[in-house]
């Protein structure tokens, strides 16, 4: 799966948790999930669980702790798929 495909899937996942989905229109790899997309910490846990399901992988605590931006999530998933 290409970086673009992973990124699009991550954004599709985020769409289910971001209250103002217009914030996703300008999303970049640097977009901070909590601060820029106004997702709260509990929902970030749900997003990580959803990523595990969609990408068929497992994300441990330390890996999850490193996810702050969309790019962080994409990079992690890309690395785990390699």
């Amino acid at each position: 799966m290409s970086v673009e495909q992973i990124t699009q899937k991550v954004i599709d996942i985020l769409r289910g948790y971001v209250k103002d989905t217009t914030l996703l229109e300008k999303a970049t790899p640097e977009t901070h999930i909590l601060k820029d997309l106004k997702v709260n910490s509990a929902r970030l846990v749900d997003i990580i669980i959803k990523c595990e399901d969609v990408f068929g992988t497992s994300i441990d605590d330390d890996e999850a702790d490193r996810i702050a931006t969309i790019g962080d999530a994409v990079l992690l998933i890309q690395q785990k798929a390699a």
């Binding site: 106004k38 910490s41 509990a42 846990v45 749900d46 669980i49 999850a64 702790d65």
Partner: protein
């Protein structure tokens, strides 16, 4: 030295209701002993969000001094008074064992919200000015971040006997660390904690730190 942390959870928010039945969420967030307490609790959602808010408040408090500290919820162990934890409404005390040491904890529970406070000492915890406010106009009608900043500044203005216009909330450009307050352009020593969820917003700060940061050293 840890700062101040607070966290509010709207118990009636649709996304929060029934979360105690979400085994994967529970597994990611709570230790086995915490999950067992939630499973046995007469009001499992209330206990779940009390423990969650406690972990969040503790993380905010320790990340004031160390923004790089891990935020993994399972590494923040919450110890609530066992008897108190079985009640639905009321004020509970306890501790949170964090990756940076132990913090003192207070959790207030109403029918509609849970509010947790964490601080480095029992004295600091007791001194904290804490408020939970219902968002005016309801959820979605106002920007909750702006609302809670405004409520905080009104409280500080009242205490300093100044105009709200004399005050502003600042954050570091990277967004890490606790928000700080400027009084007529001068940084105050106070580290403040802001939170919002659903229909509620909350803040906390230590009133004795409403002095210029340079004087506080």
């Amino acid at each position: 030295m840890p700062g101040v942390g607070n966290d509010v959870v709207d118990l009636k928010d649709p996304e929060n209701i029934g979360k105690s039945r979400d085994d994967r969420f529970l597994g990611r967030v709570f230790m086995v002993s915490e999950r067992e307490r939630i499973a046995r609790a007469p009001f499992p959602d209330t206990l779940l969000w009390s423990l969650w808010a406690a972990k969040e408040a503790a993380y905010k408090a320790v990340s004031c001094a160390d923004p790089a500290v891990c935020s993994i919820p399972r590494r923040y162990r919450v110890v609530l008074d066992a008897e108190e934890a079985t009640r639905r409404i009321g004020r509970r005390t306890g501790r949170v064992i964090t990756p940076r040491g132990e913090l003192f904890l207070e959790v207030a529970v109403s029918e509609e919200w849970v509010h947790a406070l964490a601080a480095g000492t029992e004295e600091a915890l007791q001194r904290l000015c804490r408020r939970v406010k219902r968002l005016e106009g309801g959820k979605g009608a106002v920007n909750p971040s702006a609302f809670v900043r405004g409520a905080l500044l009104r409280e500080i203005a009242r205490r300093l006997d100044c105009s709200v216009g004399d005050l502003s909330v600042i954050k570091k450009p990277d967004g890490l660390g606790a928000p700080r307050v400027l009084f007529r352009g001068e940084l105050l020593a106070a580290e403040v904690s802001l939170s919002h969820d659903g229909r509620f917003a909350a803040f906390a700060f230590d009133p004795i730190t409403l002095i210029p940061a340079v004087k506080a050293g």
